[in-house]
């Protein structure tokens, strides 16, 4: 009786409820004029019954699943012998893990003993008991709901209104999920960041000039004190993003201008989807491209000119990131350029200016706020881009503005700090969350400003 089966049974019971409700509604009006006497169409009586079955049981089901493991763990712990119970909390956790492993038939870390086996049996027993209880509870609720509604279904029951009210609340719940996601993001990064800032002061993190998060495993190891000054990481992020924007903004903007002002229909019909392919390529592919093709080319051409370029230079990552962002800038600018009223262009052309003069002196200034908004969104995307820099930029945090040197970025650090084994009380892991918080806040500010600017701009010409 695993949760999956219980869920299937729950759905089956609700479906049965639907048919019973509909049949009951038709039966009630049998002989008194048929379905048209009913307040709602018969399906609504069925749907109402099904909802009465499904909604409360689904709530109980999810609540049960969330609480089950904790409750059972507590009960098993209280049954353990005194000697084990008096262990410190972390040792106790290990014991509990062993018990769970025994239950699931996995390998146990310590040697098996009778106490553990007994506890595992007890755990198993409790779990099957709980699932049996859940099954019974859900069945009882469903049967109860069906029988109550069977009695209450009358021609004047406003089934449709009830069903629609429930649907309305479900719709609201779905859209509120967006808010919960944001809250979830903020809380999860904030909680760990606060723990981090308890160990490393905020000002040391924000203004420190040295970043080397590797903390020692043994106390006497060299370099045992990790340094968490994030300035080199910020500078690296800014450098890579700046290179990306230097590529993406002019190229994207000029593409958009050409496509919307010069290109004929046919050219546009081919060039635009091709540009959009660039936007659809996964970032991991760009990362591979940067590391495999672009970085060696840059290094070799640098060697020809006698420059010593690192093979993980900020240049390679930045250039490829710029190419990735071109279609983003281009499609956003295309939108805003198209939104500039034709009358402005006609006015300028009729005064004798050439097309390029019209564009430079009339269209672009008129579209400027929208373009700025688009560029801000592109910047936020460049800052948050992960895979390209993880694969093509380096790990060492150099405080430099030289694009030919290796730099590291916020996202690279988050990935390297969190991939692999983690323990959640070392500042090394927590630092990733502090960086994540910063990344979230910065991109959020950029997005809010950009969306506001774009929205205001759209209203201007509507």
């Amino acid at each position: 009786m695993t949760p999956t089966y219980i869920l299937i049974i729950l759905l089956l019971l609700s479906t049965a409820g639907y048919y019973l409700g509909r049949r009951r509604a038709l039966a009630v009006v049998e002989g008194t004029g048929g379905p048209k006497v009913l307040h709602s169409r018969p399906v609504y009586y069925g749907a109402l019954t099904a909802l009465w079955c499904a909604v409360p049981t689904l709530f109980i089901f999810s609540f049960w699943l969330v609480c089950e493991s904790t409750v059972i763990t507590d009960m098993v712990l209280s049954k353990l012998p005194e000697t084990i119970q008096s262990l410190p909390a972390d040792r106790l956790n290990l014991v509990m893990n062993d018990i769970k492993n025994l239950v699931n038939g996995n390998i146990v870390s310590g040697e098996e003993n009778a106490d553990l086996q007994a506890a595992a049996d007890y755990y198993q027993y409790l779990r099957s008991l709980s699932q049996g209880a859940l099954f019974v509870l859900i069945s009882v609720i469903c049967i109860g709901a069906v029988s109550i509604l069977q009695n209450r279904i009358r021609p004047e029951l406003r089934a449709r209104n009830h069903v629609e009210r429930v649907i309305y609340y479900i719709l609201i719940a779905c859209s509120v999920l967006a808010i919960f996601t944001t809250i979830g993001i903020v809380l999860s990064v904030l909680y760990e960041s606060i723990r981090f800032f308890k160990i490393i002061p905020v000002q040391d993190f924000l203004f420190g000039l040295k970043w080397s998060p590797q903390t020692a495993i043994r106390a006497d190891q060299v370099g045992s004190s990790g340094a968490f000054g994030a300035i080199p990481v910020f500078i690296g992020t800014l450098l890579v993003s700046a290179i990306a924007m230097i590529v993406a903004v002019p190229v994207g903007l000029m593409s958009a201008i050409y496509l919307s002002e010069y290109a004929n229909r046919k050219f546009r019909a081919y060039a635009k989807p091709l540009l959009e392919i660039l936007a659809g390529i996964p970032t991991v592919v760009y990362g591979f491209f940067a590391a495999l093709v672009v970085a060696p080319v840059i290094r070799d051409s640098g060697a020809l000119m006698g420059l010593d370029i690192s093979s993980e230079s900020a240049m390679a990552a930045g250039l490829v990131m710029g190419v990735m962002i071109i279609p983003f800038v281009s499609s956003l600018s295309d939108d805003v350029i198209n939104a500039v009223p034709q009358a402005l262009r006609d006015g300028a052309l009729s005064l004798g200016s050439t097309q390029s003069e019209t564009i430079r002196h009339i269209v672009l200034p008129a579209a400027l706020p929208g373009i700025v908004g688009g560029v801000l969104l592109a910047v936020s995307r460049a800052i948050g881009e992960t895979m390209i820099v993880v694969m093509a930029a380096g790990l060492s945090a150099n405080l430099t503005l030289n694009p030919l040197k290796t730099v590291t970025t916020v996202t690279v650090q988050i990935v390297t700090l969190l991939v692999g084994d983690q323990e959640f009380d070392s500042p090394k892991t927590l630092a990733a969350f502090a960086l994540g918080l910063l990344l979230f806040v910065v991109t959020l500010i950029l997005n809010v400003i950009a969306l506001y600017v774009v929205r205001k701009y759209r209203e201007q010409y509507e």
Partner: protein
């Protein structure tokens, strides 16, 4: 250009001035136009270089070098009831040594053996398990060659380089040439690549495990994000009152669409793994994270689709006595569905290519087994690409490119489906 001129003789002068500047202005016009064309050409060139370099380095991965061994299945060491204990490795070794009887030296024997993949013994074991009746007889079997041999056969290792700069020494190359003369080494279509899971050996690594992982992840993403996304879009577009609360939801959704994907990974790590204690590296958690990530895309596309349904449809439905819910469910939603599906497919394509959040929730582990369910540890296609791209062996480079090609094929299929849907059901009201 428009300097205040004396009006009496101004007209002539202005024309002259304009004429004088005309050539320069036309030149500027041409230059500007050419710049636009250059910008587009640059982007398309990048696209072409990207595709060419990936296809160029990846197409050879669809072939695999195999070596034919003449093996005698000596019945003394092979007990049909206990094949797991049999020394298949020894059989393969003997077969190879028999082909080159002149090799006697221990070191040379080791070099000779390194021509074969460590998967050769497994291949033999599989064969014997499938055909126990062949025990005691001789057979010839094509077994995979080592990745260095593979690279040499595909021409990725230059035979003319000095010996010290090659992964294979002169002697090994001479053996391979001897095999070539006997027709005992050949390239064949690489089925391993499509049927195997990950492996440390490039010649044994495949993408099937990662493809399954991606499939399970996308299934979770689809069954969660599509209904929720549609419901949210319907509420915001059709039901929501215009007030502060609705505004907050809207701003939230627009912002979430632009939040870096790695932040969603942090959320998944903190909430799904650490708080709810869901299984690490599982496609279930991957699907949940990608759901949160794709929801804004689907909601925004869904709202656009609902907006494009003309109000007359709504008014007609309400006019014949439908309730608001009926109007939406029976008339507006079916008409908006193609647009919503297009948005969903595009969102799914983005989710398929997403890597960063999956790294955060531990889907980067080295997993050999093919995942069989939603809670099994698994990787996904883009993560597999990332893992292989990090591997130093030359053999993994072509595997990476080939995996990228497979991923791109999936993306092309999904995006063409979206374009087809849009073209077929697009309605101009």
């Amino acid at each position: 250009m428009n300097k205040p001129e004396n009006t009496t003789s101004g007209s002539v002068r202005t024309v002259d001035l304009v004429q004088k500047g005309l050539a320069r202005r036309y030149k500027a016009e041409k230059r500007f136009r050419r710049m636009g064309l250059c910008a587009i050409s640059f982007s398309l060139l990048c696209l072409a270089v990207l595709f060419i370099s990936i296809f160029g380095s990846g197409y050879s991965a669809f072939q695999q070098t195999v070596i034919e061994l003449d093996i005698v299945l000596d019945p003394s060491g092979l007990n049909p009831n206990n094949l797991a204990g049999a020394d298949f490795n020894g059989l393969v070794k003997t077969a190879l040594y028999n082909m080159f009887p002149e090799v006697k030296d221990r070191g040379e024997k080791k070099k000779l053996l390194s021509l074969l993949s460590s998967g050769a013994a497994y291949k033999l074991a599989d064969f014997v398990k499938a055909h126990p009746d062949r025990i005691g007889k001789a057979l010839s079997l094509w077994v995979p060659a080592d990745d260095d041999v593979d690279m040499l056969m595909k021409g990725h290792i230059n035979r003319n380089l000095p010996e010290t700069e090659r992964r294979l020494n002169d002697q090994q190359i001479s053996w391979i040439e001897a095999l070539e003369e006997q027709g005992k080494i050949k390239k064949k279509f690489n089925t391993t690549f499509f049927t195997a899971g990950d492996s440390r050996e490039p010649e044994l690594a495949g993408i099937w495990g990662a493809t399954c992982g991606s499939f399970y992840t996308l299934v979770i993403t689809l069954i969660l994000s599509f209904p929720i996304g549609v419901a949210a879009a319907v509420y915001l577009e059709e039901f929501a009152p215009k007030n502060r609360f609705t505004d907050i939801i809207e701003v939230n959704i627009n912002n979430l669409a632009a939040v870096p994907s790695i932040v969603f990974g942090l959320l998944g790590l903190a909430v799904f793994l650490n708080f709810f204690e869901l299984p690490r590296s599982s496609s279930l958690v991957g699907g949940l994270v990608l759901t949160l990530m794709t929801l804004p895309t689907i909601i925004i596309a869904g709202r656009a689709a609902l907006k494009s349904v003309p109000p007359s449809i709504r008014e007609a439905a309400l006019g014949v006595g439908a309730s608001k819910t009926q109007m939406v469910a029976h008339h507006v939603l079916p008409l908006a569905m193609p647009g919503m599906l297009t948005g969903t497919i595009i969102g799914m394509a983005r989710a398929l290519g997403e890597t960063a959040p999956l790294l955060m929730i531990g889907m980067v582990a080295f997993i050999v087994d093919i995942p069989g369910g939603f809670t099994d540890p698994s990787t996904a296609l883009p993560v597999q690409i990332f893992l292989w791209a990090d591997s130093p062996e030359r053999g993994f480079m072509e595997k990476t490119s080939a995996a990228i090609m497979v991923l791109l094929v999936f993306l092309v299929i999904m995006n063409s489906a979206a374009v087809y849907l849009r073209k077929k059901y697009e309605k101009r009201w």
